[in-house]
Point group: C2
Chain length 529, copies 2
Amino acid sequence: MALAPVLLQMSPDDNVAIVGNAGGLPLGAVLPDGTTLIDAVPQAHKVTLSAIAQGEPVRRYGVVIGYATQDLAAGRWVHDRLLSMPAAPGLTDLPKATRTAATGAAMQVPDTVARATFMGYRNPDGSVGTRNLLGITTTVQCVAGVLANAMTRITQELLPKYPNVDGAVALDHAYGCGVAIDAPDAIIPIRTVRNISLNPNFGGELMVVSLGCEKLQPERLLPLGSIPVAAVSDGACEVPGLDVVRLQDNQHLGFQAMIQAIVDAADRHLQRLNTRRREPVPISELVVGVQCGGSDALSGVTANPLVGRVTDWLVGAGATVMFSENTEVRDAVDQLTARAATVEVADAIVRELAWYDAYLQRGQVDRSANTTPGNKAGGLSNITEKAMGSIVKSGHRAIDHVLSPGEKLKPTQKGLVFAATPASDFICGTLQLAAGMNLHLFTTGRGTPYGLAECPVLKIATRTDLANRWHDLMDVNAGCIADGECTLDEMALTLFTLMVDVASGRRKSWAEHWGLHNQRVLFNPAPIT
Amino acid sequence: MALAPVLLQMSPDDNVAIVGNAGGLPLGAVLPDGTTLIDAVPQAHKVTLSAIAQGEPVRRYGVVIGYATQDLAAGRWVHDRLLSMPAAPGLTDLPKATRTAATGAAMQVPDTVARATFMGYRNPDGSVGTRNLLGITTTVQCVAGVLANAMTRITQELLPKYPNVDGAVALDHAYGCGVAIDAPDAIIPIRTVRNISLNPNFGGELMVVSLGCEKLQPERLLPLGSIPVAAVSDGACEVPGLDVVRLQDNQHLGFQAMIQAIVDAADRHLQRLNTRRREPVPISELVVGVQCGGSDALSGVTANPLVGRVTDWLVGAGATVMFSENTEVRDAVDQLTARAATVEVADAIVRELAWYDAYLQRGQVDRSANTTPGNKAGGLSNITEKAMGSIVKSGHRAIDHVLSPGEKLKPTQKGLVFAATPASDFICGTLQLAAGMNLHLFTTGRGTPYGLAECPVLKIATRTDLANRWHDLMDVNAGCIADGECTLDEMALTLFTLMVDVASGRRKSWAEHWGLHNQRVLFNPAPIT
């Protein structure tokens, strides 16, 4: 039986397309236009639709993703050695806030989305949690071993007493001492640790474990003036002020006394958390972080467009969606600045990407350091092609706000947000947590078991093969779009329904089911000492 | 009852001394020379022994630790605001390998030390372990959640079957992807992860958990040519070559299959580790990493000189001692280059410290970013004073070798080693593990519950108050030296005996007893992406 070739062309003027067939296409396969393949082409890899002369542009997504390094006949496999990377677009003379609002049927928010509610936990600061977790903040890595020990008791002795609490998370990290805490860039890790402790899923309870002599003193980590008052006083603590267990304090006579002090403090917070109940809240209270990792060429064809559609719906319904990953948007900077809601937003996008260019240059690299062996094996030839597939997650609406790394959304900041973070999965996720994410969408083509303790993560496979093999890790299979067995709109509704169920606590993501937790990894561009 | 003042003067030409009394000394207290205190002086803080005019040098350890910012009468408390910091010494025109060998009674190695043996695990590569641990190496943070899940089964189901194995350690880390892996400085985190997996306490067994698409591929992490062959073949694996569980491999159908593959691989390694037995080995097989953290002004008076004495003995007996902490030796660079065994070693010291100066400068800070609020509260006014107390740990012998961050000692490299690392406790410890440490000495004045899963850590308190309060965290109390209740030699023998017992597995450190494990924190001066 001859294989029916599935070709995925993103834009009418593209001169390459992606092979959708699960097993790829063999040499000699005949394409719908009669072209015969002169190479075998793996799934998700590019094939030339017409002859491309050496030095001529190769187009995908309607964008030049590189130049042919030799003459390419029609029907050739375009792997990364046949493509030279374009220079990064400049950061001057960009179009700013020039694009008219996207319209058309795809931008219509379905009624089921616009009117949707989910069952969330309302917080004193106006945010809404999707989980009811005790987060125990730490000022310094020194206390991590002691806190881990206390967590065993908290989990075994306390949590069973408080059935309305979903869990407890030790917010340990590698920062806090042995770092140049007054360096200009130190603000990034400091505010990240601070803002993670204020994530909506921790219900405004603040409990801190400190050593005592560390550079990042509790008062510096969480200056009371900067924190919503309800989070630390207003009945939230016996004594108004920060609830700190400081291991070096004289009253702790030995290790068990330290553990007991932590367990006692946790007990007080858990009692309060246990009184909370879910209530119906409008869908606009979702703060969704979108990310991709272990990408392949189908990421930009199936899973990322799926996320983009849901992003368009959610933002249209008044919710907040954050996209990130500086090096994966850098080559599309002109698209982003054009989509900025205002010139100020466009300028902020340029400011963040210029800062990141300089940061990479200090380390003698550029954005091309992003791509992985897995990306290339998966058909992504370079960062330009990867970026075009990555930004699809951000949909088509205007970009309303920009966050620097570790910054937190203000309660008034709704809509589409560019949270400027590195593309590293764990660092991006950590910074989106700090920004206030309460639900996380993660697309993957190669496959990753990524998960966070602080927030539900829904993982979306770009291809059916991965979804089948990792049947108990992938929450959604976007591969059916490439297979022709579902439409993007159908899958978007399926994904949206799952998001509401998971946000409401009626369902768990697979990562939650198995308790898969990646480290919070801080972005610290400042020196350590 | 009048308090008998205890003053600790480090060098005869010092014009300040440290108050040893546990509660400090009150205003009006009369010093042995008749001077009356005109300030109350806390314990471990400095007091002027004679008048010092504004701009004149203040001397401790026979070294200028700063200049008086105003006229200081005799009997004044010299806190950090009264002292301006000296400029860092230059890195040119330094004395190189000029010092004659230290002699004198203190340098005589006691027979009990010179002839000592401990019960260790001999490894195929010639190194000796003090513990018999399964280390499971990872290429990337993505796999951390899956491995943590597998570790629960390994700990509960497998370890009880293998009583000769001391434990299993998941060597997860924040590196491996989302990083500029070809940046010039990326070699540091890569070789650190590699060399930790080759630490003597893992017995030469190499087991790797990989995702599949990550930048740090197993073959790049552990290129077979660079690894002692015995570690990966020679019966150590069913199939010669690296033992890798790659989660994205097609044979893993779902999460439980991945877990089972890891557990099965661990079982094979544990079977071999379980056949190993301790045997008597000469004391020269110890590879001791020394470090201080949460220091106070007594660190340089009690605990660090104690460690320095043991260092002199151990190195004299043919063992290896590593000292580290770039920013805490920077101000003493001239002492170190003079003590270098050869001009090449002196040049290597200068090379490392110059590299670190430039690294700090890139982030717009210098070595003065090192000191912490706790240091200052503990009496250390600035990094110069802190450095003079810190290098005391290195004793008095010639410096034989220098390691760059993450490098591993060659089997032939014995003696006193400057392992050039940041001073951050966890990063220094991580890099000393990579260098091949099999026993860790850690001095502290403010107190830290620091511990490592990979290697026993003995913690030494600088003062009796801390040792009393943290009775089940501090392994040794060097405070008795300041109290006049023990001599340095007595305590050095006590510490040495404890080291032999712990290295032999007859005793556990407190950190081991409680299972206190800090994260391995990598030093990555290269950008992330």
